[in-house]
């Protein structure tokens, strides 16, 4: 599913260079649940941005679903993200003017341009119900708890049935119990639907709920462990 070969990412800050990733080789199989851990500045987020084709590597190759993402145009990359990748961000990033169900069906509207409103609503309601927020369809983000908002953002990431779910510190703003529930949701998704999940976290115990953990340090893979 994901193949990183000899990947480096260098940020230029004036005359100096910052090596966010150095010659990283990594493989993630379809259906695998992988957590990427490490201290701040270790390159976790940079790796997620490259896998999510939000950024371009300075060196090496990134292959997602057998596609060399470097060869894609901007428009192709955006279309690829829409169809194949679901994102869950740290701060939920829901549109405050939309209800839970409306926030959820936005990617569906972008993807299935000719479908009816009823179809979008039906699809979104199904995903939200599966994630346990079926009673909160018509609530606005400010009317939802942090955990509920994160579930809505997971629903939004899943509505187009992407093969890859990328989550960037999704539990950082949640309490321990809610955070645990969110990770359990990913675990369940991986077990039941064969969803490929990449979880970026700095919390070891949450990362340990994945199939495999990858630790980064100074832009390089420090160690890997199967749980």
């Amino acid at each position: 599913m994901i193949k990183l070969t000899n990947v480096s990412k260098i940020y230029k800050m004036g005359s100096s260079e910052i090596h966010a990733l150095r010659d990283v080789d990594m493989r993630i199989k379809k259906g695998e649940f992988v957590s990427i851990m490490g201290p701040s500045g270790s390159g976790k987020s940079t790796m997620l941005h490259l896998i999510g084709i939000l950024d371009k590597q300075s060196k090496g190759s990134v292959i997602i679903k057998d596609k060399d993402v470097e060869k894609m145009t901007d428009e192709e990359r955006t279309a690829f993200r829409l169809a194949e990748i679901g994102f869950v961000f740290q701060f939920y990033s829901l549109l405050p003017e939309l209800t839970a169900i409306e926030n959820t069906f936005i990617p569906n509207m972008l993807y299935l341009k000719k479908a009816s409103d009823e179809k979008y609503r039906k699809n979104a309601a199904e995903v939200l119900k599966k994630l346990g927020v079926g009673e909160r369809l018509h609530n606005y983000p400010h009317q939802l708890s942090g955990g509920e908002q994160q579930r809505v953002s997971i629903a939004r990431a899943l509505i187009n049935k992407p093969q890859l779910l990328l989550t960037d510190e999704p539990t950082a703003s949640l309490d321990t119990k809610t955070a645990l529930n969110v990770i359990k949701t990913f675990r369940k998704l991986s077990n039941e639907t064969g969803q490929t999940v990449v979880l970026i976290t700095h919390e070891q115990e949450l990362g340990a709920m994945a199939d495999r953990g990858i630790w980064l340090k100074d832009g390089q893979i420090d160690k890997e462990k199967r749980f």
């Binding site: 955006t78 003017e97 936005i106 341009k113 187009n160």
Partner: protein
């Protein structure tokens, strides 16, 4: 592309107060764009009607300048010929004289117009503008009609005493009906006349500044017969003036120069041109207001939504789709503002058509031409979209990683 109107609508509904404010600002910009020209059109129409009704009528026939003739000869036969042209309602001859009018110790230069009241009533409205006394009869040779500015008045001084220190007079200082004035004509003839009436209007008018005598009296003074300085032709429909002018030309009137009411009223054309320039300035101001308002509102909106825009791009929304959302919002601002503005303008115009504005210049009914209404709407809507374009484009082209790092 359902997502574009969907997101634009949701975004606008969220900020109702700002949206209402912007829409009303645009509505008032539309009012500014249309009502001011409508007001000016009404004003120039008031001037134009006054000139047509009292000085030129719909077609004016005068001696050709090159002929160096002061008068049209055989005016009665010219009028007969003109009256036979289909579309002509009536015609009237005027003789112009210049002279000085004396009253007590006051004197004033004036243009004296001689006319045949019984005929002229069908062509001009001069006789209807009588304020005091009566208008002339065809046979009046010892009477005169004074315009109210010529008749004049005394102006009280600041402490309210007539004739006191600081007091002054206008015109001849206040001639009353029945009093006598002396006129010294430019050919040297001097004669005393009884003032039979005072003419004028509340607002601007040429009659207020004129002196009228009968045609018969003018012929006596000048020693002429069957001559006219001008023949005024009233038509059944003033919009036929060009066509009927050509018909009259074809009938053959020697040494005559003919002008339609539009060609003759160079004064009102000058006013219209001046108003045109003023309108361009107000249009420019309105466009600047619209572009600044929409530009700032969209810019603030996109800056506030920086992170959300980044997230939408990350989850698969194309740059152009994001730009279109904000452009659609600008379009909605423009369209709704225009519709509300147009509604207000047309209601106001309808009300003012029933209740004209009474200005010192006269009663004014604003006139909005359809093309002005359409062009103003187009200017407003296009300006709104153009104003939204730059901030929308900037927002859609932001780097995803720069925007999603922003913490709300």
């Amino acid at each position: 592309m359902k997502i574009i109107p969907f997101l634009a609508y949701k975004d606008l509904v969220r900020d109702k107060k700002i949206v209402i404010l912007v829409i009303f600002l645009l509505a008032f910009s539309y009012i500014n764009l249309t009502f001011f020209p409508a007001f000016l059109n009404g004003l120039s129409n008031t001037f134009q009607d006054e000139v047509v009704d009292t000085a030129t009528s719909h077609i004016i026939i005068q001696p050709r300048i090159e002929s160096k003739e002061q008068y049209l000869n055989f005016e009665s036969s010219i009028r007969k010929k003109v009256d036979l042209v289909p579309g002509v309602a009536a015609s009237s001859s005027h003789i112009s004289l210049s002279g000085a009018v004396f009253f007590k110790d006051q004197q004033m230069g004036a243009l004296v117009t001689a006319l045949e009241p019984s005929v002229d009533n069908e062509v001009t409205t001069i006789s209807q503008k009588i304020l005091k006394g009566e208008f002339l009869e065809d046979d009046d040779v010892d009477s005169v009609i004074l315009g109210q500015i010529i008749a004049g008045r005394k102006i009280e001084d600041k402490i309210g005493q007539q004739g006191g220190f600081g007091a002054s007079v206008e015109g001849l200082g206040g001639v009353n009906v029945g009093e006598k004035v002396k006129i010294r004509f430019s050919n040297g003839v001097e004669k005393e006349y009884k003032v039979k009436g005072i003419v004028g209007t509340q607002g601007f008018s040429l009659v207020s500044q004129s002196v009228y005598i009968s045609k018969k009296e003018a012929e006596n003074i000048l020693g002429i017969d069957d001559k006219a300085s001008a023949i005024l032709v009233r038509l059944n429909n003033k919009n036929d003036a060009d066509r009927i002018k050509n018909l009259i030309l074809e009938s053959g009137i020697p040494n005559a120069d003919m002008k339609t009411w539009e060609e003759a009223s160079t004064f009102t054309q000058g006013i219209k041109q001046t108003f045109g320039i003023v309108t361009i300035v107000t249009t420019f101001v309105a466009v600047v207001v619209v572009v600044s308002t929409i530009g700032i509102v969209v810019f603030i909106n996109t800056a506030r939504k920086k992170r959300i825009i980044g997230v939408l791009k990350a989850i698969g929304m194309q740059k152009n789709e994001i730009m279109m959302v904000f452009l659609f919002e600008s379009l909605l601002f423009g369209v709704i503002g225009t519709v509300i503005g147009a509604g207000i303008v047309y209601v106001a115009l309808f009300y003012l058509s029933l209740n004209p504005i009474l200005l010192p210049l006269g009663a004014l009914v604003p006139v909005l031409y359809t093309e002005t209404a359409i062009i103003s709407a187009a200017i407003l809507i296009v300006s709104s979209v153009i104003a939204g374009y730059l901030p929308a484009r900037m927002a859609s082209r932001q780097e995803i990683l720069e925007t999603i790092r922003v913490v709300e």
